[in-house]
Every structure is written in C-alpha cells, then in structure tokens.
Symmetry: C2
Subunit: 446 residues, 2 copies
C-alpha cells in the first residue's frame, strides 16, 4: 500500500493551488494529487476553445508547477475511504494523514424532453468531450445556447465570431442576470450587433429530432430550428465522494465545512466548487462558484493542514466576476441593485462614466461606466459593477478589496489613487471616486 | 467690490476639483475660480503634446464641469490680501468668506552656466510656452533631456517616437529613480532599443552656444553636441501667494497645513502642490506632487470649507505613480526597496511574474512583474512596484488600496479576486497573490 502524508483528490485549480501551498508550508511532506483527467482544463478558458484558441489542448492547466514542487500525480478515481486510507479504482489503497477533496462541480442538465439526442451538449470540463463538441460545432450552422449567464454569453460571442448562426435563450428577463439589467442589456445589444439572436424570459420545453437534434420548442410553443444545442444552465457541486465517504453535505450546496474548510470528519478537508459556500453579506448558502474563490480556499487549506497557521475571520463569498463580450469588458463584485432589492438590503446607488485615457483623444480610449451600491445607513460599499475597456478586469479587484475592507463613501472620497494619461481615466473623472461622489450627493440632499 | 462666498485661486486639477466639491456640498454658495491661464493644461498629459497629441491645445483641462456647476471663472492674478478681501491685478478687490490657494508648483532650473541660452526649456505648465517649445523641438535634431524621472523618460519616449536623436542624462545611478533599479534599468533598455542614449550618474555643468545652445558639458568634462535641452529636474511649491498673504510656509516644502488643509490663517486653505505634504510612513515632509493627491485634497477641502463634515485620520502621501514607456507600463505605490533601506525600514520582498491573460497564448498577453515590500515584523504591505501591460495602471490602485488599509500578507493570501482569460492573469498565477506567497515562503524559512 502506498503511503502519502497529504492526498488531494481533484486536479482543477483548487486542488493544484492546495498542493502547491501545502508544499510551500510543509516542504518535507509527501504529497500526491489524484485526478480523473490526465489533462485537466483551465475552467474559465473553456469558452475560448471554440474559436479564439486553435485547439482544446491549448487550454490545459500545466503540470510543471506540480512537477517542479515534487508533487506526485496519479491519474485515477477515488472509490472509497476507510479511516486514513482511500481506495482507487486502478491503484489499490493509499494511506494518508490529511485528505483534501477538490472534486469540483458538474454541469446541470435541466429536465427537457429529448435532451438525450445527439448534438445536445453541456459545458463539461472534459478535454475529449470538448474536442468532439468543437468538431460538431464546426459542422453545425444554427446553434442554440440555453442559458445567458457568463458562460452562455461568452460561448455565444465566440460562436458569432466563428460565423455561426447563434441564438441565446435565457429564462430570466435579461441575460447576464448576475449583473443589473443595464449591463445585461448592453451585452444583448453587443451580441445582436454581432448577429446573434437573444430571447429572454423563455425556456426550452422540448428538443426535436430523430437521432440528432433538429429544433427546440420554447415554453410559449414557439419552434426554433437548430442543428446543435449548448445547455449552459449552471453547475452543481460534485458530491459523489462526499456520499461515498459519509461526509455531511447539503444537496445542491456542497460539503459542509467550517471557516478553515474542515469537513465533518477529522483530517478531511473540502475546497472549491464541491465545498459549501456562504454569502459575504447574509451568510446564507451561496451558489457562486469561481476559480479564484476555489484557489483562495486551496491556499488556506494548504497552509493549515496540520494546524491552523493562517487565521481568518470567515468572510463568505463576495463573488467577483469579469468577462468580455465583443470589445467591452464587464465585471461585478458583491451586491447588485437587483440583489439588494431581492434580499431587502437598504442601499444608495452611485454612478459615474468616464473615458479611460486622458485627454480622451489618446489612443485606445474607451468609455467606462461604474455603478456602486452603498449601504444607505452604514455608508459601507457593498457592491460594484463596471463596463468598459480591458482594464475593467483589474478595476473590479480594486473594488473587491474595498468591499472586503468594508470601506465607506468617505474612505473612497479620500482615496489616493494613481492615474496616467495612457493608462487610466483622469483623476478629475476617475469613475470609482466620482460614482462615490454621486452617492454622497444623494445623501447630502436627504 | 465683488463679493463671493468661496474664492479659489488656481485653475489646475486641485482648484477645479475643490470648486466642484464645494458646489456639491454647498449648492447655494457663490463660488469663483481665479486663474492666471485662460486655458489651463492637464498636467500629466504635457509630455504627450510633443508627439502623440497633435496640438498643445489637445491637452486643455475642460471648463464645462465648472460652467455646468455655475462656478464663475476670472482670468487674473491675485496680488494681495487684506482680511477677507483679495486684490487682483486687473479686477480690483473681491471679498470672500473662504479662500482656497491652489497655485501649484514651478519647474526647477538648477544653477547651470549658460542656462539662459535659447532652446533651453523647462517643462512649464503654460500653453504658449509649450507651443513655442514644440515648434522648436520639431526643428531640432539632437535633443538632450536633463533628468530621468517620470516626466523626463516620458518626454524621451515621445521624442524618439518623433524620430529625434535623444539623450537622457540622470544624476542618480538609474533612471526612474523613484522605482527600484531593476525597473529603471528596464526603462533604460526600452529607451535604448528605441534609439535614445541614456547616461546615469552624471549632471550638466555648462551649456555651450552663442545665442542658442550648441552643446552641454557634463560634470566629468565630456562635451555633448545638441541643439535643444529640456530640463526636467522636478518642481517646487509655488509660494508666491503664501509670501504675499503672510501665511506660514516651509521653503521648498509648501504652505503649512493641518489634516484638513487649513493654513495658519482662519478661513484660508491650501491644496495641491503648493501645500506641504507629509509622508505616509514616516510623517516627514514629502516632495511627492501628484494630480491625484492634489484632487483628493481638493475634494476634502471642498466639502469641509464651513465646518469639518468629512472626517479623516491624516494618512500622509502614499505616492502612487504610473507611466508607460514603449509598450510597457510601470507603476509604484508606497515604499520601494531603495527607500526602505535609506529610511531604515525593516522589510521582506516578495516577487512574482505572470502573463496577464490565461492561457498565455490568448491575444494581447504581456508578461507582468510584481514586487511587494512587506514589513518583516508587522507583516503589513508597505509598497508595490509593477511592470507589464496596460492593466498595470489599475493594478497599482489595487495595491494602493491595500496599503492604505494596512493589509497584511495573510489578508492578501486570503483575498477574493476576479480573473478572466481575456483580461487578467490566471488565478493560479495571479501575481499580487503570488508575490505575497513568495514573501511568506521567506518568513516560513526564518
């Protein structure tokens, strides 16, 4: 029987980060990472394998960091656990001191009649599946995407660039429903300008075709011809191992863990999409699954496996997303106006627009819009949304750090920032500060 | 005699921001902005008037925000003050309740023999001066720039793009001396690749020529031919009004002010480059002059003119700069390694490199280097330096917010950030976090 000090099951970003962090913290421990896939993918890169990247294999998570850190890799599947031993399908038993479960999530297939037909695809994190899917997409002409969340709109953007006839169907009233409607409407406008069709407030009740799909029927009876359907309706935690290992979990939410990602069983941790998440603001279960959150958990567990070295007050999941559709980047962190309403959070909105170069006639200038959500009474920043040029991808992290630090309107008002003509908005127009001033002006009127 | 509630002297970024902030806070007050220049410039845009922008007048600070807020503008010069009245050169007296001095800074001309010759220029914030200077630059072939700080290297980059024969002479051992040597050396490498010559550790002791410059002599006796010299050796606070108004000031440092920018005289405030600054870490006088700091001061004073509404604990000047030379952006916030040594701050360095897209073969990917300076004992982040693609301009603001919030290694280690293939480094490689891990690894070995 093989013997390792630390066994990590799952080869995605959470597992890899945890393994590296464990090696940094406990350099003398023997560590193994066990994974099903011989070539795990970069999860958020998957939409780009359909057009921008030449091959699915251009989106592989590299093994070099693991190899350089002398972390063993076993391509196998865990099937059982008995005390401090796990059983693998093909490699017998492995003894461990500490076990980390990082088995991720699975794409959700809603109950739709005919979903078993050919050319109906999920967004699976599986190289061979995606290679076949890409080949079928290349042959297809009319493609329907069910679900207008981040992944759905990213795939739509890729497929219109690949000159496919694309339709996006979203059940909610706007696409990109994790952002406020004005941002989703902008994404709709971009996709429609690129030639896609976008239908909101509808779902698919039936898939037509003999062996292979030939069309879908919406819940209002409308029939739409297509030769390929991509279902992008979210992911649910992969709880297979939790069930096999008798860990406490909540169906659809994940393996229950404490602030240090410790499960109901001593010496067993769960990180990433398979671990339950709690909301930063309300503490309720959160369905947000992000590689960046998974990796923060991986780092934390990696350094805390033998004793709690890295103290934190459990902050909950903030949820910081970004994407780019057409030439415009979109990002959100924390509470949206929509969610503030739905969860009864008292709020004040501040909005500012600016050009992200100064003077505005400098090259590469794009308009940028910032929308901030403050707590009306506490004056704390609770959420930020932004759209504009590429630097949106890092601007949202400024606001993520602000929210995590519970910064108020006045903290932001007094902020010292750096600006440069060729890189940012002018300090007079700097939109994070000016959106804050906009909120302060509303308070002044109260 | 004209009567205003609020009189602001100075039309640069500090004065404009203060006027707008005062109008937001006190909408019923009558406000006037008095300025020498009929067309004030965007100060940090000045280097770009020499090539990237077509005309000097493309770099004008727009008056629309002032006009839209019904703030009067008088183009005149303040010459004296008597109690709550100021005298203008051409417009008689103006009575005020509150007076804000925002008269900025003046370019320093070091004592050099022959500095009064034609074609010897400073970087003055003056439209007519710069128009003439641009015309002379267009005629010139061999141009020497004395001073390799931010403005010097930005002007050098512009002039090599304009196909001039350019030499930069810097007294310190590296150019860009406000950053650590490896960053300055990279700037040197870029400028040299573009065709400029860079000489460090030298200064100019003599300027040759009859009426107009024909060459310079370095302090080691080397003679260099040139037909134009640009002196970019920093700025000093403009204290003319402080002297005329009998305010307390420190020569070379600025008008002395409290945490709310109040001068030694009741109802008189000073903001921006003309007000004394104190260092964020040590509290000593700081020579850092930044539009973004000036505007934070302008906003603070604008809202606090009649009583202190906006409380702050005086944080001192952090100093967050960014620039772009060739195709690489550079930025710094807070303490550098050089300064930590010079001011005896105990420190630990963390460094990480990453590609700012993931996978790295996606379009527009550039390598990014982050260097962080932590306090070894307190574990607090004290400084950050970065070079890479355009998003460096906003990434430095993430770190500026971190330093202002006194975040530690562990706070950053646990950070929730947003990443996206088309916009940022991968979460596994995210360089702010990985530079922190690098520092933590050094501590683990202690």
């Amino acid at each position: 029987m093989k013997q390792y000090d630390i066994v990590i099951v799952g080869g995605g970003p959470a597992g890899v980060t945890c393994a590296l962090s464990a090696k940094n913290t406990y350099p003398d421990k023997k560590i193994v990472l066990i994974r099903k896939e011989s070539k795990p993918l970069i999860p958020c890169g998957i939409p780009y394998v359909f057009h921008t990247l030449n091959e699915v294999s251009d989106d592989i998570l590299p093994d070099n960091p693991l190899i350089a850190s002398q972390i063993d890799i076993i391509n196998d599947e865990a099937t059982g656990k008995n005390d401090h031993k796990i059983t693998l399908a093909n490699n017998g038993e492995i003894a461990f001191e500490k076990l980390v479960i990082a088995t991720g999530s699975k794409a959700i297939m809603p109950k739709i009649e005919g979903a078993d037909k050919e050319n109906v695809f999920l967004i699976k994190k599986d190289k061979e599946y995606l290679k076949n899917m890409k080949a079928r997409i290349q042959e297809a002409e009319k493609i329907v995407i069910l679900g207008g969340g981040y992944i759905g709109v990213e795939v739509a953007d890729e497929l219109v660039k690949a000159e496919k006839n694309v339709m996006v169907i979203e059940m909610m009233n706007t696409i990109l429903p994790t952002m406020d409607d004005e941002f989703g409407n902008k994404v709709k406008e971009i996709l429609e300008k690129e030639g896609a069709k976008v239908i909101t407030g509808k779902s698919i009740q039936k898939i037509y075709g003999n062996k292979s799909i030939t069309g879908v029927e919406l819940d209002d009876g409308t029939k739409i011809d297509c030769d390929l359907l991509i279902v992008s309706c979210g992911f649910r935690p992969n709880l297979e191992l939790a069930k096999k290992f008798n860990l406490v979990y909540e169906e659809g939410k994940g393996i229950l863990v404490d602030a240090y990602l410790r499960t109901s069983e001593k010496d067993v941790f769960a990180i990433g999409d398979c671990a339950a998440k709690y909301d930063f603001f309300t503490g309720e279960f959160s369905n947000i699954m992000l590689a960046s959150t998974a990796m923060a958990e991986g780092r934390l567990v990696g350094s805390n496996l033998y004793s709690i070295k890295t103290i934190r007050q459990y902050p909950g999941v903030l949820g910081t997303f970004s994407t780019k559709i057409g030439n415009i980047a979109f990002a959100v962190s924390g509470i949206t106006e929509k969610r503030a309403k739905a969860r009864s959070l008292d709020y004040t909105v501040g909005i500012a627009k600016a050009v992200d170069r100064h003077p505005a006639m400098l090259p590469d200038a794009s308009e940028i819009t910032v929308k901030l959500i403050f707590s009306t009474y506490s004056h704390t920043l609770m959420g930020a949304q932004i759209m504009g040029g590429n630097s949106v991808g890092e601007m949202i992290n400024i606001m993520s750090v602000m929210i995590l630090n519970k910064m108020t309107d006045i903290d932001i008002y007094n902020l010292q920032i750096g600006t440069h003509p060729l890189l940012t908005a002018s300090p007079i127009a700097y939109p994070i500060i000016n959106a804050t001033v906009d909120a302060i002006k509303k308070w002044n009127k109260c």
